[in-house]
Symmetry: C2
Subunit: 249 residues, 2 copies
């Protein structure tokens, strides 16, 4: 997902991890079902050792669960799980915004964030957003969130947020794709952009509590998207990892 670059010459373990994650998110593996190592080895064309390393990492990441009798299975997520994961992300991003505001940020890094907001503004202000506009929006939105985490200047917090956003539907852009299919999409994006602007303002003015509250509310837009997307089969299909969501859990 958007993390390419070194396409070749990476270790077998990383290859296995990326390939497995993709298989899981696209729903090629049924939740709850054991992942047979030998079958997967044949499928991915590597040996058991790097595959097992990938399984361990994906379990820690939260995508897999250990089977008591041994081995791993794809984890299933209830709507409540996803709701809470979004709330956790918002809470941690709120903490990052508060840290940035309270501790102060250099003008150069704040300028970077402002540039990012300006770029988002330029995309969002179009009266009608095309599919390409959304394609430009997603990476820029991710950049905004990544910059915010950098501004907090906290290695432990960066780690936690990385982990919390590794679940695709908990990530800042998790529902943007699905959102594009919704009639409310434009309105939601405009509100999100307002949040982007306000949190920069709050950080600049060193208003920690305000910055925190804004980022929390910002994440809650994803709650709304979650509900809207899951109630329409067409947009639910566009949610990455939709196959892992079990209704009524």
């Amino acid at each position: 997902m958007a993390r390419d670059g070194d396409e070749k010459s990476q270790s077998q373990t990383v290859k296995a991890q990326l390939a497995l994650r993709e298989l899981i998110l696209e729903g090629a593996l049924a939740p709850g079902e054991r992942i047979a190592e030998l079958a997967m080895v044949d499928r991915l064309g590597l040996s058991r050792t790097p595959l097992r390393a990938a399984l361990i990492r994906l379990e820690q990441e939260g995508l897999l669960e250990e089977i008591p009798s041994g081995g791993y299975a794809v984890r299933a997520f209830s709507e409540a799980d996803i709701f809470d994961s979004i709330e956790i992300r918002g809470t941690l991003e709120g903490l990052a915004a508060r840290f940035a505001a309270e501790r102060g940020v250099s003008t150069t890094r704040l300028a970077e964030l402002k540039e990012c907001v300006a770029a988002l503004e330029e995309i969002v202000e179009a009266p009608q957003m095309s599919a390409e506009d959304f394609a430009r929006y997603v990476p820029m939105n991710e950049r905004f969130h990544a910059l915010l985490v950098e501004l907090a200047d906290s290695a432990p917090l960066r780690r936690e947020i990385e982990r919390a956003t590794s679940l695709p539907f908990a990530s800042p852009s998790g529902f943007v794709e699905a959102q594009a299919a919704l009639p409310e999409s434009r309105r939601i994006l405009l509100i999100a952009q307002e949040h982007h602007r306000l949190v920069v303002d709050a950080i600049q003015n060193r208003e920690g509590a305000r910055a925190e509250a804004i980022m929390r509310e910002h994440a809650r837009l994803a709650h709304r998207n979650l509900q809207l997307a899951l109630r329409s089969a067409a947009s639910a299909a566009k949610v990455p990892g939709a196959a892992l969501i079990r209704r009524r859990g």
Copy 2:
């Protein structure tokens, strides 16, 4: 740490993980230095495969870092890292308390929590606390925090908090041992106990914001303990994982 039980007949991987963690926390391995697998294999009496599985898990846990050229090294933590880790824990426990308050808890589970608070009260109200009192306090305090997380009734949040508290100095009882050596210890414990009582009250009255604020402030007691403990060599030695802390980072 406090998680014994199946002493024998556990898998080699778990054995390796526990043994390695202990070695790291007691400072037997210098931070930044590569952990040679073959040497460790000899030391622990198992083969490389389960050892490597343990290394991967401990890296995900945050105790180790990957060396770019391969292998793992013990991670070093600055005082700022620990401060932030405590703040993260407080933020997540605050979220748990808010969830519990907002969503409501069954009277039986609330009663459990109240029992726990009563047991802590009984320990703390002694005019002079002995070493045995501290020994009774620590597990009961951990039980309080564990119950609180259960009351939130959120698997994702439980996972995040488990992870955030896996670093020993970020855990709720991380500094209690060191605290015992401090003259301020009793006063701090009384304040902590006030927090315990208040958060139960807030949860019972479904005051989410209040419950959250109290748990945040509760964790900040650890900030004070951190500063006090690190400034006195005697108590710093009692902080688990003290060897991983690098002054001036």
